[in-house]
Symmetry: C3
């Protein structure tokens, strides 16, 4: 797997390649057990934004080298001690600080493509909150240790994990995961519903995720995925409002070139070949308004 | 089981009967593998609205003939190809279209009576989104195939399923169900928490659901059910607001004739015989405002 | 375990003691099978509020005597028949009534300390809704019967259970639990995800909960717990808003004395000794506005 189609961008903490519609990202700062650095956050945001914009990308898949000890060892403690942006620079005010783990989480969660993570090693701190929770699908090695050291460090779970985890698995499990300091395994009852699949060997995780990714890339209309994610993340406030939203979306998609092709392929019992592109869908999507958190003037 | 008490309404795609407080609805367009047609949507909405209004109805139970291949085979493809209302008529604007699956879902979800579905065959597309998710209780045959072909057809999951599924089982499982094209079985970890019971034989599904329905009809105060459903579907925005809502409801119900009868029956260790009626509860319920989605002028 | 440090307050329905940062509360109106009385609600609210305010308290743990038949037998029927405040006094209007079970639930759910319940006997009615759902962690005896008699009594589930249960385990299970009159066991699929641990013997429940409580009290920064609970209960309305909230919180905590001590203890591989206090954290927390439900003028 090579990188020919990816524009040359200065990536130092990750490797990225594009093949068969799948943008594969591999964490690679092995010197630091794949710990989460400021530069890693920049690299990830840049590649996720590139994958969001490029119509060749159908699925974005994040993984690590299974030979590493950890998938991601959490925030890089050297940088934290130096006073990096990870916990906020001294010169930033409380209003100005933007948690890098949360910035990465936003670039994944708000992505218009399907996102998948293949966790083939241990995951500590932001290796769970930032690099697992915002994804659409999570595959993991059964032996992975999940450890959340936030309360023991006198800080708290970040990367929008308090928002995401309650929505993903309910507040009972979210509370248990975030308020207890226990070391967890993927098959723990509190965690297991987060995972699409739990694989016995480290080496099996990426192939399982890749095979799943290929099926999605080959069979699902990209704009349909974008709309479905939009409705899952921004449903109507009431069932009536959601009915108005999905009625409009289904009318729009049913009359689209994709809708025509999907029906034809179904009748002819062949694979569909969808012509519509995510970047071309600009008239209605997104139908919600987001706050621009990167404006320094955006305050609580 | 016969239909003597049900008003003569022109039902062609379903059969309905009323006995012991249970309105039993059976899908019956076997010519089309119980596929979801425009007429079926009209029939279902009519009967669910009738069941909502008639005080003799305590529980509404939907099922199909277990000898059919499918409980419901999803949207009728002949109608879709003809350009029926199912995906939106050509002459309708995006603002005017109202998804028929969503219209059915609203008539079930907003029903003031307990609703139960007994899925005794395969369920594809709207046979899952429209005819399972909006119910209070779901019983299913273990061998049922659940298949969601939306993304493969270039459209998207409809019938308010993006709203309902996230609320019912959390966003992690909802995303997995709606974004993957996999064929699922009821015992799949993503689906299983949706079901009250999963029965090994097709023929066992309706009897299990009926027995459950009879217990509810015989022991639960209808107005108490209506209030509980109202609070589950329209909880306070905060715990404080919910406390104000359920304090008012409990004061109201405790002082009602039902409350008096419930207490007496409890002390006398006999079955209660509740006098209050849902149609008679007009002064406070509903305590929320809904948008009238059937007004053509109601827009996003 | 004795009560030396607890201020003398007139508790008749519960016993309370403080040791190693754990405020242990034991229900004790054995004459009435630990039924939920008006006085019990006053006692519980008083002690939970005291535990919220006193910085020596890290964890609040509620239990009962395992030799009792029930952990809590629900609303005291004698008081209900007399027309006590439990279902609303005759002289109160619908707007004025405040459900005592809900008042207790608010004092637990809004508590800034970790709350744990050890259910070592049967739990009926408010013994489930008021005395289990609002806690952060629930431990229970496998043989406990959970029975919700509300609909059979012509009333409805109270104590903000319609709000809490949907959030805790999703609306599918919440509906099933609250709308069916079935007797449930903790290992029922609808209930099991509510519990941190299910113990085979009554006598094992409190020790398991205490051991868990001690670990939290010894290792977690109290203010970090308060912030994490705040974010779980009051997340941003959107992921962007939550990112602004937890960015501010992490900057604040990272720069705090606790943050400094947490990092030092981590580097020195020793247990942390956090100096910051919950009562001292007054400038930002709480960041949300709550309605004062105790004001008689607060209406829906």
């Amino acid at each position: 797997m090579s990188l020919p189609e990816l524009p040359a961008i200065d990536l130092t903490e990750i490797v990225a390649s594009l093949q068969d519609g799948i943008l594969l990202i591999t964490l690679r700062n092995s010197r630091k057990t794949n710990s989460f650095t400021e530069k890693m956050s920049h690299d990830l945001i840049r590649v996720f934004q590139w994958g969001d914009a490029d119509d060749r990308v159908r699925v974005i898949l994040l993984t690590a080298d299974p030979k590493e000890r950890a998938f991601c060892a959490g925030a890089d403690m050297e940088e934290v001690i130096k006073g990096s942006v990870l916990l906020g620079r001294k010169e930033d005010s409380e209003d100005e600080h933007r948690d890098p783990g949360g910035q990465v989480a936003l670039s994944i969660y708000n992505n218009r493509k399907v996102t998948i993570v293949a966790v083939n090693g241990h995951a500590w701190g932001s290796g769970f909150t930032s690099l697992q929770l915002p994804f659409d699908f999570r595959f993991i090695w059964a032996g992975a240790e999940i450890t959340l050291p936030f309360l023991r460090l006198g800080i708290l779970p970040e990367s929008t994990s308090t928002y995401l985890l309650s929505r993903l698995v309910g507040q009972s499990r979210a509370t248990s995961i975030l308020l207890s300091n226990a070391k967890m395994r993927p098959d723990s009852p509190n965690l297991s519903s987060l995972y699409q699949d739990i694989l016995p060997n480290k080496e099996d995780v990426l192939p399982a995720a890749l095979s799943f990714a290929k099926t999605i890339a080959a069979t699902s209309a990209p704009v349909s995925i974008t709309y479905t994610k939009g409705l899952l993340h921004h449903p109507g406030m009431t069932i009536e409002e959601n009915h108005l939203l999905d009625s409009r979306a289904i009318k729009r998609r049913g009359a689209s070139k994709d809708g025509e092709e999907g029906l034809k392929a179904f009748m002819q019992r062949r694979s569909p070949n969808f012509p519509d592109t995510v970047s071309g869908e600009t008239s209605w999507y997104p139908w919600w308004k987001s706050r621009d958190v990167n404006q320094p003037k955006t305050k609580l």
